[in-house]
Subunit: 204 residues, 4 copies
């Protein structure tokens, strides 16, 4: 079923329709397995139009990544309380992250599961997104424990923190049972990362 169907739609709208369709298809199939045919059909347009607006499969995928990455970054940044103490900033960032990924599962799948395949030319795009997020985390961590943002140990903490968050988001996205809410995930991760397991006191 075409998403829209109408004719003579302005370019900006059509492009958004195409990106929406592409993100959905790429999320379901992955970059290589997705076919331009399926994407065009999902967008409700003919293939030549997709090429006219988005040039190539690779460009299309890159556009998807960029859009989703920007949206995710913005969501996190907006959720951070600027000027607050590091712990509070971190809390806000995590909350924003988990809520955004839960609200946009296809975008998250594309970024986290499908765009990682190394060897593809768009890997750089994703790496750059991740680098931005890791740097942001490193800044908070450095502020919190008084280290230099570039110190290897701080970097290691930042990678650990980001990896932990990604893993939890992935868990929430694929867990079969009742999905934990973003607030709970953020709380768990705060406890885990901030206080440490040695002081964690489970619910019961």
């Amino acid at each position: 079923m075409p998403a829209a169907g109408g004719k003579r739609v302005p370019r900006a709208v059509r492009e958004r329709q195409m990106l929406d369709a592409a993100v959905a298809v790429f999320a379901r199939r992955g970059f290589r397995a997705a076919s331009m045919d399926e994407i065009a059909e999902a967008a409700g347009v003919s293939k030549p139009l997709v090429y006219l607006y988005l040039n190539s499969k690779e460009d299309l995928f890159t556009a998807c990544i960029r859009r989703e990455a920007d949206a995710l970054t913005a969501a996190v940044r907006d959720a951070v309380e600027a000027g607050a103490p590091p712990e509070r900033q971190l809390w806000g960032g995590l909350l924003g992250f988990f809520e955004h990924t839960a609200a946009h599962p296809d975008g998250w799948t594309v970024l986290y599961s499908q765009a990682r395949t190394v060897g593809e030319p768009f890997a750089a795009e994703v790496a750059s997104l991740r680098a931005r997020i890791v740097d942001f985390a490193a800044g908070l961590i450095a502020a919190a424990c008084g280290g230099a943002p570039g110190a290897p140990e701080v970097a290691a903490y930042a990678y650990a923190l980001v990896g932990a968050a990604e893993s939890l988001a992935g868990w929430a996205a694929t867990a079969p049972g009742p999905v934990p809410a973003g607030r709970e995930l953020a709380a768990s991760l705060m406890t885990f990362a901030w206080s440490g397991l040695s002081r964690a006191v489970p619910a019961q």
Copy 2:
């Protein structure tokens, strides 16, 4: 250039050569982008022989996953000091994990970056490996903080811990500069996860 070249090799040996070559190629290209031609050439045999022994591209990839997953699981399990206190067990497991992934970067890449593409039939294989590792972590965490291994909070900690470890391993595998040693990664993660960032005292 063929990896081995010799002729009339017994089947078991040839199969190992093929798996070695396949892991290398899959790590470089990903499942879809890798071609059976390239794999056969890398293994130093003709394509039909690969099909004769390993049936299909999918079966071949699954065999690679299984082999690497088993090796990784075994490495972690062997590195754990059975009967020791949880903290010590965790330390051993992390050390084993980081040392194995550093020693087998191709295997790690296949498992972590290439086999994750959702929608592919082998996804289950990787999910199962990860589930095993997460369960193991959950057991340690439950023992450490006195919760039930099945409690949602414990599960969340376990996912966080595993995600953090994966992220660090990925960092070590792709970082351009001097690669942090496994021992250092394990130490960072122990501090991060066990004591918490609030008590972390960076090197400087």
Copy 3:
């Protein structure tokens, strides 16, 4: 050399060209031995276009069978004088049959020689054509000799009659010398089947 050559042909026309080419190639080689490459070239188009319109080799072959079977059935039915006495109806049907098979030797070859290979999935299609013809013959025979159309003996006569007709058509199609005309074949078969050999009086 492409059969048609022109470009930008409407789909319906192209499909007919493809079927024509396919029937010719299948008649010459048989289903398994025919290659899609050869068919595409004979149709004057590229292989992907054949797949786009006809899906698969098997579907293509089935489409050929169905087209030729329908044409043959229609030719026979149209040649039968409805309402006439059985003998006259039979005469018309045989004449129509022999004239159609002589006029479309490739179609006849595909139906009679190439589509019979048991074990192939399209066998059902041909069996159904044959069943239709045998049933029609059984009806005439029953009317002629006063038996029930479902009686085993009538069925046996019908199978015998149809087999005899097929054999004669095949003979006419492959005989090296001067090919007997349809009218002569029909006459011979009428004598053979209607009066019986015991009363047949050969030309000389």
Copy 4:
């Protein structure tokens, strides 16, 4: 399951095993679709041995055809009462034909359904068998109605008769319900061909 399994079997025996297996497989699949692997396995030997004894797939198929054709020809010839009046001779031949084909369905399938595919190099072999049978029939017919065995009309009758017999044999081989016995088929065909439909009086 290997048919025999034993080792060091004398060549003649092994060859027979191979032909038996080949006829069964060719009957089920047809010439092109049958694979030497399947045949070798069905024969319980390794592929190289099949090649050592029978040279090539085509030679193997030709050998099958020749063996089955000879057996069929012999069965028919043995069933004919030499010196008897034509009608009696024909009766004997038909009986022999139907009983042999019913007793060797795989051989019949190979000859009648699988070896007909035109365009294959072994077509000549089958054509020659058929020619022998048609000639034999022509002789009887000529004797019965006083024509020259080479007259076109006599040839036509012979082709009709043989085609009718083949069709009945095929019907008996594939009919789902209770299979008509050879004696009944022969009787039906005698009535049909000898007395003609105009004088046929069905069972009821």
